[in-house]
């Protein structure tokens, strides 16, 4: 029986979020909180592996109390159990402190029911670093497999996992020992419209909620803002692209238009016959 834990994060929907033009920070009130889209795929993959091999899917998140909503979304996708670690002392964590806190929670979950596989999203859509997954793996001293695009095989008896890792020009097949950690691409699967029984389960579900005091062997200095060496010196919105011309038509027409524009640029080419 596999025990898979998906790490999930509640994020502001950056598709609709507005930047505060004065402070250049995200105005979080303008955006609804959603489940990090990559993490939905992490949970879905965990659910598919459970369907294939049997076992149990838990989800874990660190965040403020409303993050229960993100956990319920995961139950809709098909997760069995959810854990929220929430405490003022976690607040302001960078990726180092986040992965530290999550590792402590994973240790606690493992005590009850040993964890064979951890699945993270490729990255969060608000922090975008993609560091939390590998950070957890390093602390647990298990192999991190990033950019996972397909799971070929998980074999608990032989303690091995075989996956495809996405590369720029294809993929590579990698075998690892179990337990290990994947961070998954969005293309690994499609999250289907949740069936009604899952919706019903999610509506009634209450996750485990732990504070710092519920975790063991925690060094308070490594938590939250105190445990975060990252210094954000400046944040700015990318400038809106200006100028430019949109080429219309089919591909052939677009190529022709582009060529004729490029050829007219005297500074780029000298055409034979002209000086």
């Amino acid at each position: 029986m596999l025990h898979i834990v998906a790490c999930i994060k509640q994020v502001p929907d950056t598709k609709v979020i507005k930047m505060n033009p004065k402070t250049n920070t995200m105005d979080r009130r303008t955006a609804p909180a959603i489940l990090n889209p990559y993490d939905a795929h992490a949970v879905e993959e965990a659910v598919r592996l459970r369907e294939r091999y049997g076992g149990k899917v838990s989800v874990l998140t660190m965040g403020p109390p409303p993050a229960v909503k993100a956990i319920k979304k995961c139950i809709e996708i098909g997760a069995d159990e959810g854990y929220l670690i929430t405490d003022r002392r976690f607040a302001g964590a960078d990726t180092l402190a986040t992965s530290y806190a999550l590792t402590k929670a994973l240790n606690k979950i493992s005590k009850e029911n040993p964890v064979d596989l951890i699945i993270c999203g490729k990255m969060s859509i608000d922090g975008d670093t993609g560091q939390v997954g590998p950070g957890i793996a390093r602390r647990l001293d298990i192999p991190p497999l990033t950019s996972v695009n397909k799971v070929v095989e998980i074999n608990k008896e032989e303690k091995k996992a075989i996956v495809h890792r996405k590369l720029e020009d294809g993929y590579e097949v990698v075998q690892s020992t179990l337990p290990c950690l994947f961070s998954v691409e969005k293309t690994i699967n499609e999250v289907p419209y949740a069936p009604f029984p899952n919706m019903l389960k999610a509506a009634k579900y209450n996750p485990y909620i732990w504070s710092v005091d519920d975790l063991e062997d925690v060094d308070i200095k490594q938590l939250g803002l105190k445990g975060s060496p990252t210094i954000v010196s400046k944040v700015w919105a990318p400038p809106k692209p200006e100028g430019g011309t949109m080429l219309e038509g089919n591909r052939q027409e677009q190529v022709e238009q582009l060529l004729s524009i490029l050829l007219k640029k005297k500074e780029l080419f000298t055409i034979k016959g002209e000086s």
Partner: protein, 431 residues
């Protein structure tokens, strides 16, 4: 098969939430289904929420609910193209407990209200569309949702799916609306500084006013406009019968733009920023348009059963009361273990005997009457404006002369007779 419920309520608007709340409170196992991302996410209302009917469900709700402003002044503007005769009542008694009514933004309010139902034990599922009722041997036994494995069963299904209830329609409870039974309303939420709102509308801190607009607000088409104050936004909208829009070949948003640029309104909304644009239908056919509202294993409540008092812009309160009475009936039926139409009919009787039925009957002919007689809006209101202008313009003519002119403006003796008759008939239809 998934678990069975005592009741399934379809639609988390004021009607459905009220019903689910009271059912759960009474110990019933109740499922509330909503197609929106969350309750209120798709809901549109000017937004006056009436305190009394809400308190029948949650006493002293105003101490914690997300309300905008308690209303201390209600104005009625009879508008002509460049003028208006305004009638208003302002009373400070409305500014303190227990209050009369409040402006609300439904996206916030419905969510809070649904949470209260969940706290009572109702199970709320969002983002799920009910496609149809499951009928077995002529009895409604559950609903089919759009999700995989989406059939759910219950002793009774409450249809609270709002105006133009497709679910009640597919049971054959009512026909598709005629364009003269339903109004199309469009509205905008305009952002404006709190302090500016209070100065401009002559309000104390956190008090509000409502302005109802008649006549030229709808270019004389049967309908009304409104302008309500929220905390730091204004709600402005117009609604007219669909038949009127069709007849006058006018698009609803053109009407809204027209109101916004009207000289009586322009100055009130100056400097505000449009934040949201919404459109929705209002069932205005009244008592005559009400279809069947009870069947074996099924009850229809709120807008789905045509419960709107168009003359008084009341809808949410009728929805809540119908939800409450439906819950009461279902709890009785549960005790008796009988969910046939005969038992559930208790709801219809209670509804029609109470203020909801009384008001629906009182105004049963009003929409039709005003629709058939557009001159109330396109002739008499301008006339009233001309009379006021004549009377209050000081230009050296004697008041006696002025009265003569006003009298003449009313038309020939025959037209005057018609007008007197019209006033009497208007009085009769709303009497």
């Amino acid at each position: 098969m998934s678990e069975k419920f005592d009741a399934i309520v379809v639609g988390a608007g004021p009607a459905g939430i009220s019903c689910a709340h009271d059912l759960a409170k009474g110990g019933a196992h109740v499922l509330l289904l909503e197609r929106g991302e969350y309750p209120g996410s798709k809901n549109v209302m000017g937004g006056v929420l009436y305190r009394k009917m809400m308190e029948d469900i949650i006493p002293e709700f105003y101490k914690e609910a997300p309300l905008e402003r308690p209303i201390v002044e209600q104005k009625f503007m009879m508008m002509d193209k460049e003028s208006a005769v305004t009638f208003s009542y302002k009373g400070m008694e409305w500014g303190k407990e227990p209050y009369n009514n409040f402006t609300v933004l439904r996206a916030k309010f419905d969510q809070w209200f649904a949470d209260k139902a969940v706290q009572q034990g109702a199970i709320l599922i969002n983002e799920t569309v009910v496609l149809e009722c499951i009928v077995e041997n002529g009895k409604v036994v559950g609903v089919r949702t759009d999700r995989p494995n989406g059939d759910v069963y219950a002793d009774v299904v409450v249809l609270a799916d709002g105006v133009n209830s497709l679910l009640a329609q597919s049971l054959g409870f009512h026909k598709e609306y005629r364009p003269d039974e339903v109004a199309l309303a469009t509205m905008e939420i305009l952002k404006l500084d709190k302090k500016v709102i209070e100065d401009r509308f002559n309000l104390e801190d956190n008090q509000g006013c409502t302005i109802e607009l008649f006549g030229d607000a709808t270019k004389g088409i049967l309908g009304t406009g409104f302008l309500y104050t929220n905390k730091d936004t204004l709600s402005i909208g117009v609604g007219t019968l669909l038949s009127g829009l069709i007849k006058h070949k006018i698009k609803p948003y053109e009407l809204l733009e027209y109101v916004k640029s009207h000289p009586m309104i322009r100055t009130l909304i100056q400097g505000s920023e449009p934040q949201e644009y919404l459109a929705h239908l209002i069932p205005e056919g009244g008592y005559h348009s009400m279809g069947r509202i009870v069947g074996d294993g099924v009850i229809v409540i709120g807008d789905a059963s045509q419960l709107v008092n168009a003359i008084h812009r009341e809808g949410s309160n009728l929805a809540m009361t119908s939800g409450r009475l439906a819950a009461e009936t279902i709890l009785l039926a549960k005790e008796a273990g009988d969910f046939t139409e005969k038992t559930l009919d208790h709801y219809r009787v209670r509804l029609l005997d109470g203020f909801v039925g009384q008001d629906m009957k009182k105004y049963k002919d009003s929409t039709h009457h005003f629709d058939q007689n557009p001159h109330y809006f396109d002739q008499y209101i301008p006339m009233l404006n001309r009379a006021a202008s004549q009377m209050f313009t000081v230009d050296g003519q004697s008041k006696w002369e002025k009265q003569k002119k006003i009298w003449k403006d009313l038309g020939s003796p025959k037209e005057k007779m018609k007008m007197a008759r019209d006033m009497y008939r208007a009085w009769k239809v709303v009497k």
